[in-house]
């Protein structure tokens, strides 16, 4: 005969326990990062936009071959005197890129790498589909993220 009052009591108690949990969390520090005002520091291994050190590139085409989405487009010509390939243009299609980081892994000279740029909003679609990696100021519009300071 005590079952119903006992159930009732337990029910009320269970609800009050919930209030204790939410009440306790009211006094916890907020975890929000106010994003446009404060920016989080990306980790060391963060994989942002593709970036290139053109002087290091030996045009071995490994990154182009491993790219699962064919986001990289490398054109090189053979120098007849030195018998070495010379990098002519290196275009990166950020729209296709899946930020898997395979290109920087296979690169034998660490020429291609993924930087800390994560604010990838552009005004024109063509700006995203063909980013000229040879240009040094390609990510200048996102500020200091591009300079490598964004990572730890």
């Amino acid at each position: 005969m005590f079952k119903i009052p006992l159930d009732f009591f337990q029910g009320v108690l269970s609800i009050l326990k919930g209030f204790v949990v939410t009440g306790r969390s009211m006094f916890r520090k907020p975890v929000t990062i106010e994003y446009p005002l404060k920016k989080a520091v990306m980790t060391e291994r963060f994989r942002g936009m593709a970036d290139l050190r053109p002087e290091k590139c030996i045009s071995c085409m490994q990154c182009v071959r491993i790219c699962p989405t064919a986001a990289l487009d490398l054109v090189s010509v053979m120098n007849p005197e030195t018998k070495k390939k010379v990098l002519q243009s290196f275009c990166f299609n950020a729209e296709l890129c899946c930020f898997c980081g395979l290109c920087q892994e296979v690169c034998p000279t660490k020429a291609i790498f993924l930087n800390a740029v994560y604010e990838v909003a552009y005004y024109k679609r063509s700006d995203v589909t063909s980013i000229d990696l040879m240009k040094p100021d390609k990510y200048a519009h996102v500020g200091e993220l591009a300079s490598g300071k964004g990572k730890k």
Binding site: R65, P68, T69, A70, L96
Partner: protein, 149 residues
């Protein structure tokens, strides 16, 4: 019980059915599908059809069944080879309800018709489409990569 013992048992129970053990699975004839799978479910307590898919072997289509028995802890891989011009095979929906959606998927992607299936519609692709994209002769638009040398 292992797969070889299972095949022997099957051959004993259903001598007429052409059950044949190959390294990659047990190949059965198309007409014996209801018989063999009925035996598997009823006699050998294979409770669950874990996976049903198909492989386009250029000219033939292999329907691959992964049937699992929790009692024997045994995964049986069964294959039915269908000729490209006659893609019909009996549905196993009556034995395992999970076959319902698997068979719809295979029908959608390969065009294999499962006779006796209660609701054989396309499942992933839009209804009314005529092609079957996972066949090898399907040419779709999109990024095509060259094979690595």
């Amino acid at each position: 019980m292992d797969i070889a013992a299972l095949v022997q048992e099957l051959q004993k129970k259903a001598p007429a059915a052409g059950v044949e053990l190959t390294p990659t699975g047990v190949v059965i004839r198309r007409d014996d599908v209801p018989l063999v799978f009925g035996l598997l479910k009823g006699e050998f307590s294979f409770e669950s059809l874990q996976c049903l898919t198909a492989v386009d072997r250029k000219g033939t289509i292999e329907v691959v069944y992964h049937v699992y028995s929790f009692t024997h802890r045994l995964m049986a891989v069964l294959k039915v080879v269908l000729a490209m011009d006659d893609l019909n095979v009996a549905s196993v929906n009556g034995l395992w309800s999970s076959a319902n959606w698997f068979e719809r998927e295979v029908y959608d992607l390969f065009g294999v018709k499962f006779t006796g299936h209660p609701d054989l519609r396309r499942i992933l692709n839009p209804e009314g489409w005529t092609e079957h994209p996972l066949r090898k002769d399907f040419k779709g638009a999109g990024v095509v990569l060259k094979p690595v040398k």
